[in-house]
């Protein structure tokens, strides 16, 4: 019992603030829903949020299809969340997941289209590898620039996001445009699509994502490479003194981060979208940052956070159909979750939380990298 109790306490320590932030976000979003009803034809409806949330839940988890949709939406977020979280561990803020995602999706689409006639056992893995490699290469650039020139990864990855969009638009228009379509796009991926393992849309990328969660966890917690990554993130000076090479580790971490983001793009391409066209959404890139923060950079936490965000996406249509609460309320809830995580003092006051871990170090990384200020004061 005491061992179980200790475990429960440990979980509460790390998970209490994120969980309560979610609760608080739902409460505040409910107020937004109620207030907005006053301006619609249906009139003031104080109980609408409950109905809306019930539909949201039913849409996300109420049926086999719902659960499948939730998991399909979660899969790229798991990879993206791991990409951002890995960066946080090394003290890096990779805002470039959006660009790395697109590059990965594009590389997978082009490779898949070229191998569309080949057996699935050849096309799908090669297309995945192409996406992973493209993402890694695109992550290597800001990593290399940061390590060797000190160019800040926040600045370079934001610029590279734009570069990716424009470069790929040009490529689809002028290099790899498939014939026979009324708009610029890549060819059909045919056999290279990720195999569906269950139902209508539950593709192989989902188990792959779960395996990757545990692989990243193993890398970070159990290996010397993970120890180097974490040490560089916690105290770069001490890492040099201990004989580590922060320059190498920074480059490696950004490359691995890009690799994970590239896989996110590849599974979304090969499992859901099927072809690359300018303007395909890269919202995964930014949702990944939220997922990593909510999961506190912990791979298991990221897994749950990604499933939650996937559930939002999967359940929202039913909510809109049944209760007329617009899908966009999801964006408000997600934004509120991050707001309450950042301003965790509010959560502490409202719920009188004690014994939770005092600061969320990932947010310190974010604020540090954004503001470029001094690291938070160390205990003496």
């Amino acid at each position: 019992m005491s061992r179980l109790g200790r475990l429960a306490r440990q979980i509460w320590q790390v998970a209490s603030i994120p969980l309560l932030a979610i609760v608080l976000a739902f409460v505040v979003a409910a107020v937004v829903i109620v207030v907005s009803t006053a301006f619609t034809s249906s009139g003031f409806a104080p109980l609408l949020p409950l109905a809306a949330y019930a539909s949201l839940l039913a849409g996300a988890f109420g049926s086999g299809t719902g659960i499948a949709n939730t998991l399909v939406a979660a899969a790229p977020l798991i990879f993206g969340g791991l990409a951002v979280g890995l960066g946080f561990k090394a003290g890096l803020f990779n805002i470039g997941v959006a660009g790395q995602f697109l590059v990965g999706a594009f590389a997978a689409a082009v490779t898949g289209a070229n191998l569309s006639e080949a057996p699935a056992a050849v096309g799908a893995p090669l297309a995945m590898l192409a996406g992973a490699f493209a993402g890694a290469a695109f992550g290597f650039i800001p990593g290399f620039l940061k390590a060797w020139t000190g160019a800040h990864e926040v600045v370079t990855t934001i610029m590279l996001n734009n570069a990716a969009v424009l470069l790929l638009t040009w490529a689809v228009n002028d290099l790899v445009r498939a014939a026979g379509f009324s708009f610029p796009r890549t060819g059909p991926i045919g056999n290279s699509a990720l195999p569906i393992i269950l139902g209508r849309n539950l593709h192989l990328g989902i188990p792959l994502a779960v395996v990757t969660v545990f692989a990243v966890r193993w890398l970070l917690d159990r290996t010397t490479i993970g120890f180097e990554i974490r040490t560089v993130g916690q105290n770069p000076n001490a890492s040099r003194y201990a004989g580590m090479r922060p320059i190498f580790i920074t480059t490696l971490t950004m490359t691995l981060s890009g690799l994970l983001a590239g896989i996110a793009g590849a599974i979304q391409m090969l499992g859901v979208i099927g072809f690359y066209a300018p303007g395909i959404t890269a919202s995964v890139g930014f949702d990944s940052i939220a997922v990593a923060l909510l999961g506190r950079s912990n791979p298991i936490g990221i897994l749950f956070a990604a499933i939650l965000f996937g559930a939002f996406r999967a359940g929202a249509p039913l909510m809109q159909i049944e209760t007329s609460v617009p899908i966009e309320i999801i964006d408000i809830i997600q934004a509120l979750v991050i707001l309450f995580l950042a301003a965790d003092l509010i959560v502490r006051r409202v719920f009188r939380v004690r014994g939770a871990k005092p600061i969320i170090p990932e947010l310190a990384t974010v604020t540090q990298t954004w503001a470029g200020g001094a690291p938070p004061a160390q205990p003496t």
């Binding site: 290996t223 105290n235 003496t380």
Partner: protein, 512 residues
Amino acid sequence: MGDAPPVLEMRGITKRFPTGTLANDAIDLELRRGEIHALLGENGAGKSTLMNILYGLVTPDAGEILIDRQPVTIRDPADAIARGIGMVHQHFMLVPVLSVAENVVLGNEIVRAGQLLDLREAANQIKLLAGKLGFDVEPSTRIDQLSVGQQQRVEILKAIYRNARILVLDEPTAVLTPQETHEIFEVFRRLRTEGASVIFISHKLDEVLEIADRITVIRRGKVVGSRKPGETNENELAELMVGRAVSLRVDRGRSHPGAVTLEVAGLRAKDDRGHEAVRGLDLVVRAGEIVGIAGVAGNGQDEIVESLMGLRRPIAGTIRLAGADLTRATVDQRRDRGMSFVPADRHRFGLVLTYPVDDNLALTRYAERPFAGGFAGIVRNFRTIAANAVRLMKEFDVRAPGPKALAGTLSGGNQQKVIVAREFGQDVKLLILDQPTRGLDVGSIEFIHKQVIARRDRGAAVLLVSAELDEVLELSDRILVVFRGNIVGTFLAEEAQREKIGLLMATGAARA
């Protein structure tokens, strides 16, 4: 002096932290008008907690505070300031990009015409105040252009400007050079003649005996004695502090220098700003001897040490360890060859404060067997990491709740012992010690000094860099004086004269 009225009385102050430690156990303290009162104790004895209670930063569980014989409640620092208490923290609370005047008036600004800041009037007042205390400070200078000692005086000005009659200083001399220490003591004396009272926290016995009118010793949260400097001596104070007899002088024994271990020739290195800080340094350390480098901080010591360790690339010269050229070797290669390093800044270099003690004890050998192995040799072996920690914690008397305690929660002395335990490994050939006992209490210093000598006697070459001349004199078999990046004098321990070395340190020449 003895009959001046008390301005401050703290009675039965008790504070237990949520972790269970009894930081203050019914402490009584009395401060008289115009008194310099030293609060002496080891790290973690409860001095800082007591002062934080006085300043309203910590709420006591029991006890009362009287100012001018009136009971008062101090809820927060604003309360404390209003009652004439000023505090100078160990880490200064100054805004580096603002001027002296702006910092002093911050939160207490002089305004004219409603909301306009009147800095000229402030500057005049500050000059007047500074003159009274004997400082020479230009109110328009930016804080980041001042030395540490000058910044400290700005902190004192800030407190006096707010009409502090009771000034509390937390380890004010820890960051100062000997010269600056003398200057700050002069300020204390001026404050005393002005009728102010000073409480200063310290664990340096000689300083306390020099400046204080009264010394109160605290050990494990209790007052264990109160003395006047004339009635006591260093040995008695040390015993009160530590709770047992302490040898303040280390018994160095005879050294038996062997083969040349470290050989540095013509070393040149630049500092972070690109100025040449090490200028053609030659240096030899033999196995089984301790070579001390004495010098005023900032004469190239940091750059010498960093070049030796591989953290800074020298622009010229060679570094050889037991004959092998390591000038361009990585930190890792140097460690593999038997170099070891205790850095001056334990928080910046020596430890990862957010890691547990066991990870810190394996920090420099994390990738070697038996700490890693398995698949591709990259799987960490937590069992050996923990076992290593248990063994070293016992051997080096590291006091922590366990090997999983976070390094940041340990006291300074125990943190330093973690580093020493890690660096003083079995097969170390060259030990580089940069300020190995800075900020530590006598008990920890004694322990570390003994370990250094034990290492030397087992045949290690030791290079000691310290701004504390006493430490260099006590430990070294040979003393080198560094001035502006070069060695300006060499002394054998037997023939070292304090005054001569001091003069060399200050001027670079044997005659001024």
